[in-house]
């Protein structure tokens, strides 16, 4: 501890952030039990709760930022005396801890409030005497830049989605149910975000999964929707194998602890200092990557995410674009020391995370080209952007990854809600080719916000996506002068390709929906304010969010105050990350921004916009109703046609999973096992039964009647007197078997004891 004069009180909000998920959980229960009886069918409870949660989150964010900004004066928090547990899971231990270790608490260190959920005796040191040091399974709140950022993003987008939904799903047959699950989802997500232990993280992780299941399958009367819900859940379960196994490995590696803090501390220590060996960390990281692949839609477990678009559009915006799907990215950030060491992120050229992220970002982007459903395009774009985030973390650009998570949440939610607004107008269709076109004039506000969202996604300066994407490319450390944590050539190339792809497919979407001539029937019209307001707010954020992390070089070049540079980094990046000392004594560094790279990347974006723009401009000049060239463009280029076929079949992954793996398991494999069960195992039992029955009959006939049967008769007789039922049941036969068994048992016992009775 530092001197007492430097000590300040931990702001109350940091120890009471549990209120935020708590409010949402209470809202879930209230809507479930009373929602249907209320005038607004429960929506009012949900909205009130989310506004309260957002207000608290904003306050927490504000407090966090002011603490950081005034950090130079108060460098440390007072160790608080143990407070009483607010939620009744045992006694509280409020313990602000330092990431870096001995020198006291550093600015931006996490504030961990943990309660004992339950405790068990140490699995490997079961000595009852050692019970005092038993590992407690903790539950609590972890407040640092990363979780504060997520609190803000989740509650903000959830609030807008709540408001939007009152219009979008109004009159739905399960309106109350819908709002109940929105509340439960928000609660679970925040519960996960605030995790202090890996167990808490697993619980939250699965609970958001189940909410996603319920909301994808919201209209479960139609089989495709429930199929999509099942697919989402089961694919995530596959990844969860990795989550469970990875967390188990870390539990034992960290000396029987579920504490994220302890795991992280031990991950960066070397073997001699009691740390975890690199091999173990590698195994754990790879297992956890499987979980990231399923939850955050990384190749090859991404296939559920586009299907998840079967759910209501606001849900797609909230869960399947902005918040839940980043859970995997968030988990990487939370356990960053584990991955950092496990995958040797420092100083290498490639690792599993960077490669998977890179592959996903290109693979998803390509798939977006062949979709005719606007939501599917956005879904594949989400896959692609999630790949960007994972890739960023994989190349060691922690802040870039988190920053992209932050900016992406706004522009992707904006795009999804915009797509919902379009569909709301175009008789609930999402088919760009059949039912859209020319909507620019008919829905000007939706058009404007959608344009902003698209350009932000494409990464055109000065919109939000540009800043975060640029930072990721810089972070790869390949461009001259950037000096990242390694030199990741392949991810860098993937990243550049995706920058071009993203701009191209979004231009295609814009043309198909907003330009040309309207191809649907009935006249579309602009949506009401409850849909427009969220769009405007999100478009606003998509414009300005990027300014939160401007490079200092840029800030000074345009003459802004110096303190405006890299604010996001200051606020969000845990102090601990920058003090990582790798086992190889290589610390964590920030890559240096490069003007030339920014220009080149933006050039790529502009060129690909221009190419697609001309393509459609020419097409529409020929035929205003056309959506593609029909003059045999494809047939002239066989390579392109093959590529197109592979893409429309989604790389045949669905075929592999649904038909081959799932089909075989529930088809022939299950049938064979069951056949074995009935015709082998059961046949043995049945024939044993009939053989002993025959033997019994023979015995009974000849000499059994007298002695043993009588003894059993007397006991069974008591039961038989309770009703005539016994006689109808061939009870004689049963008694016969019984007596036979007991007789045999006694016989065996005698033989057994005599044969083995020699004691040793």
């Amino acid at each position: 501890m530092l001197g007492a004069e430097l000590v300040t009180q931990t702001p109350w909000i940091f120890e009471t952030v549990w209120l935020i998920p708590g409010i949402m959980a209470a809202s879930f229960m209230l809507i479930l039990f009373f929602g249907k009886r209320l005038p607004q069918k429960g929506a009012e409870i949900g909205i009130a709760a989310i506004i309260a949660a957002f207000a608290l989150s904003s306050f927490a964010t504000y407090t966090w930022i002011s603490e950081i900004n005034s950090g130079s004066e108060a460098e440390s928090y007072e160790a608080l005396p143990a407070a009483t547990a607010p939620i009744g899971f045992g006694s509280a231990v409020v313990e602000p801890i330092a990431f870096a270790g001995e020198e006291g608490v550093v600015r931006g260190a996490p504030i961990i409030t943990e309660y004992e959920w339950f405790s068990v005796t140490d699995p490997m040191q079961e000595s009852v005497a050692a019970k005092s040091s038993a590992p407690a399974i903790g539950i609590g709140t972890w407040v640092d830049g990363q979780s504060i950022m997520m609190l803000f993003v989740v509650t903000f987008i959830s609030m807008l989605v709540h408001i939007y939904s009152t219009e979008y799903v109004s009159g739905d047959r399960r309106y109350t149910h819908y709002f109940a699950f929105l509340s439960l989802f928000t609660a679970s997500m925040l519960f996960m975000v605030l995790s202090t232990s890996t167990i808490q993280l697993i619980v939250g992780w699965e609970l958001v999964g189940v909410c996603s299941f319920a909301l994808i399958g919201h209209w479960w009367e139609d089989k495709p929707n429930s199929d999509a819900a099942l697919k989402a859940f089961l694919t995530n379960r596959v990844g969860d194998i990795g989550l469970l196994v990875g967390m188990i490995i870390l539990f034992f590696a960290a000396g029987n602890s579920f504490s994220i803090e302890k795991i992280n501390q031990m991950a960066v220590l070397s073997g001699e200092d009691g740390g975890i060996s690199q091999g173990v960390l590698l195994a754990a990281s790879l297992c956890l990557m499987a979980a990231v692949m399923s939850k955050s839609g990384q190749f090859i477990l991404h296939t559920w995410l586009p299907d998840a678009m079967a759910g209501p559009t606001p849900v797609s915006a909230l869960i399947h674009a902005a918040t839940m799907v980043v859970a995997g990215v968030y988990m990487i950030g939370r356990l960053y020391p584990v991955f950092w060491e496990g995958l040797s992120i420092y100083g290498s050229n490639i690792n599993a995370m960077a490669f998977i992220g890179g592959l996903t970002t290109v693979g998803g982007g390509l798939l977006a080209f062949v979709q005719r459903d606007i939501k599917k395009v956005l879904a594949y774009s989400t896959v692609s952007q999630l790949g960007y985030m994972v890739m960023a973390l994989g190349v060691g650009a922690y802040t870039a990854g988190m920053f992209h998570l932050f900016t992406h949440a706004f522009f992707k939610a904006c795009l999804f809600l915009g797509a919902g607004s379009l569909s709301h107008a175009c008789h609930h269709s999402f088919d760009m080719k059949k039912d859209m076109g020319g909507l620019r004039k008919k829905m000007p506000l939706t058009f404007a916000t959608f344009m902003i969202g698209s350009l932000a996604l494409a990464g055109l300066p000065p919109l939000a996506g540009f800043w975060s994407k640029d930072e990721i490319l810089v972070g790869a450390g390949v461009w001259p002068g950037t000096e990242g944590n390694g030199t990741y050539h392949i991810p860098f190339i993937f990243g550049c390709i995706t920058a071009a792809l993203t701009a191209a497919y979004m231009t295609r979407v814009i043309w198909l929906t907003f330009f040309g001539k309207y191809r649907g029937h009935e006249e579309p019209h602009e949506s009401s304010w409850r849909i427009r307001m969220p769009l405007v707010l999100l478009a606003g954020f998509a414009t300005v969010a990027g300014f939160l992390n401007m490079p200092s070089g840029f800030v000074s070049a345009v003459g802004l105050p110096k303190s405006w540079a890299h604010k996001f980094e200051d606020w969000v990046e845990p102090e601990g990350v920058s003090t990582f000392v790798s086992k190889a004594q290589n610390g964590f560094t920030h890559a240096k921004p490069s003007l030339s790279l920014a220009i080149v990347a933006s050039g790529l974006v502009l060129i690909s916009i221009a190419v697609v723009w001309t393509y459609y401009k020419k097409l529409f000049a020929k035929d205003e109703m056309a959506t593609e060239y029909t003059d045999g463009f494809m047939s002239r280029m066989p390579l392109l046609a093959t590529g197109h076929k592979i893409l429309t079949n989604k790389y045949y992954l669905d075929h592999l999973y649904t038909d081959k793996i799932a089909g075989t398991t529930k088809g022939s494999l299950a049938k064979v096992s069951y056949w074995f069960n009935q015709n082998v195992l059961d046949a043995i039992v049945n024939s044993a039964g009939s053989v002993s029955a025959a033997a019994g009959r023979a015995l009974y006939k000849h000499f059994d009647q007298g002695v043993i049967d009588n003894a059993v008769n007397s006991s069974a007789g008591a039961a038989s007197s309770s009703g005539g039922v016994l006689r109808r049941l061939q009870s004689g036969q049963v008694r016969q078997y019984a007596s036979l068994m007991f007789g045999a048992a006694v016989l065996i016992a005698v033989v057994f004891v005599f044969a083995l009775g020699e004691r040793g």
Partner: protein, 511 residues
């Protein structure tokens, strides 16, 4: 009060149902309502005795047998009336006390064909005594008697009130279990003679085995006898084939009790008798038990995927779920065995609840053929969401009870005790984790085919298909509440079971 409970508490709890059953025998068969009231009253009174015991239980010394009574019983064979409760038996006693009154309540207007509430409820009460007795017995002979007492009522329940093939199922259940019991008895007797013990007291036998010089090979054989007795009851692969038949044919109440409590007699036997008395033999057996457990997990799940009957599917799921319990036990670690105890309670609540729903679906649709069902959520929304909730619990969703039986068991397999092979158990761990995917698959697939979609034409306008009645609701809601409560406050069981389990597991700690 405490003195009274110490002397009489357990006895009153165990025998109240039996006394009520005798009283009911003397009453005339009609009207039914008297029998229902007596049975419900008796099981409630039993629960009250149990609650008093639970309140007065000293949770700080959960590893000590409490409310113990030790009286002479059958002197000729040195069998004694020796009972007590500790942290291992307490959760299971609580489960039994919780389930039986609700089953009787459900029976209020669900007496299965061919009727006769009197006989049906008498059997339920005898079962009740048998189950409670098994969980409190400290004497092997007493344990054996209670273990067998359970058989007959269940045999009649299946054989008289069951489905089409009730006779086959009932006899199979009876004989199969009896076969195991016979071998178990052999083991008990062998232990008694080989140790030269003067009683059948479990603790004393354990003590004697640890100080005597019985060859390890002999111990392994004795363990084998117990393994057959308990393993068939669990049931472990490949001795499980009686279970799907018994469950499918049994009346709803029978299935619920069978799933909720009877199967636990087997796993309880392992934890209470086989492991502590023969800890060295347990180390020899553990890899095989673990192997059969993980085979059961995968095999049971595949069996589920092949089912076309809802009830048979739920029955097969028990094979998979009990696999997790047995995996936990086979790790020979305190966390694994605690997880097993948790898994026993959780499985009892969840699968019991699933059988309730299956029974009520059958009442309405008169079929459980999955391909003919569908749209339960449309026709009976409450039943539909209860089914959805319970399947989620059953597939081990964190935040609900099922998770705490599964995850810690998988976790414990990473580092087994007793010097067991780590690589082997890590393979088991991964296989068990894969089993969680299959569990989700068959359960959600069941949910999709029965609850989602629109009702088939066959049943679309059938007036018989109504939502859950008030009575069904009352008997189900406590199950749902407990599933959530245990999911969020797992300490309720872990805290109680931890002390006795870790004391027991101390012998297997790798030094």
């Amino acid at each position: 009060m405490t003195d009274f409970l110490n002397d009489w508490g357990i006895t009153l709890m165990v025998f109240t149902p039996l006394v009520a059953a005798f009283a009911m025998m003397l009453l005339p068969g009609k009207p039914d309502i008297i029998h229902k009231q007596v049975a419900l009253g008796a099981s409630t009174l039993t629960a009250v005795w149990g609650a008093l015991l639970l309140f007065n239980f000293d949770y700080d010394s959960a590893s000590v047998m409490q409310f113990g009574v030790d009286r002479s019983w059958i002197d000729v064979v040195n069998a004694r009336y020796d009972v007590g409760i500790d942290g291992i038996s307490l959760p299971l006693i609580a489960l039994t006390l919780f389930v039986v009154p609700l089953v009787i309540l459900y029976s209020w207007n669900h007496i299965p064909k061919p009727g006769n509430a009197k006989a049906f409820l008498i059997l339920t009460l005898i079962l009740h005594t048998g189950m409670l007795g098994t969980f409190v017995a400290r004497d092997l002979v007493l344990f054996f008697v209670f273990f067998e007492v359970v058989l007959l009522p269940m045999y009649f329940m299946i054989g008289v009130w069951g489905g089409e093939q009730r006779l086959y199922a009932a006899i199979k259940f009876f004989l199969y279990t009896l076969f195991g019991s016979a071998l178990m008895l052999v083991s008990f007797l062998a232990l008694y003679w080989l140790t030269g013990s003067e009683t059948f007291n479990m603790a004393q036998l354990a003590e004697l085995v640890s100080t005597s010089d019985i060859a390890l090979g002999t111990q392994v054989l004795i363990f084998g006898g117990m393994f057959m007795g308990f393993g068939i009851k669990v049931p472990m692969f490949p001795f499980h084939t009686w279970l799907p038949d018994a469950h499918t044919q049994a009346p709803t109440q029978g299935s619920v009790i069978l799933a909720a409590v009877l199967l636990k007699l087997g796993t309880y036997g392992f934890i209470r008798i086989a492991l502590p008395i023969l800890p060295d033999a347990a180390v020899e057996w553990a890899p095989w038990i673990g192997l059969l457990a993980v085979i059961g997990i995968i095999y049971g799940a595949l069996g589920c995927l092949a089912q076309t009957d809802m009830k048979r599917l739920i029955a097969f799921s028990s094979v998979a779920h009990m696999g997790y319990v047995m995996l936990g036990i086979s790790t020979l670690t305190s966390f694994g065995i605690s997880a097993a105890i948790f898994g026993m309670v959780a499985h009892g609540l969840i699968t019991g609840m699933l059988f309730f729903i299956a029974g009520s679906v059958k009442d309405r649709y008169h079929t459980l053929e999955i391909s003919r069902l569908g749209g339960l959520l449309v026709q009976a929304p409450r039943m539909g969401w209860i089914l959805g909730f319970t399947t989620m619990a059953s597939l081990g969703l964190p935040g609900l009870a099922g998770f705490w039986g599964e995850f810690p068991a998988i976790l414990a397999a990473y580092n087994p005790g007793g010097g067991l092979s780590q690589p082997l158990f890590r393979v088991y761990m991964v296989v068990a984790a894969i089993g969680t995917v299959l569990a989700a698959a068959y359960l959600l697939w069941l949910l999709q085919r029965t609850a989602f979609g629109n009702p088939s034409e066959e049943f679309a306008d059938n007036p018989e298909i109504t939502d859950a009645s008030k009575l069904e609701y009352i008997s189900w809601v406590p199950f749902l509440i407990m599933i959530v409560v245990l999911g969020f406050v797992p300490g309720l069981i872990f805290d109680v079971a931890d002390a006795p389990v870790s004391e027991m597991a101390e012998v297997w700690v790798v030094k």
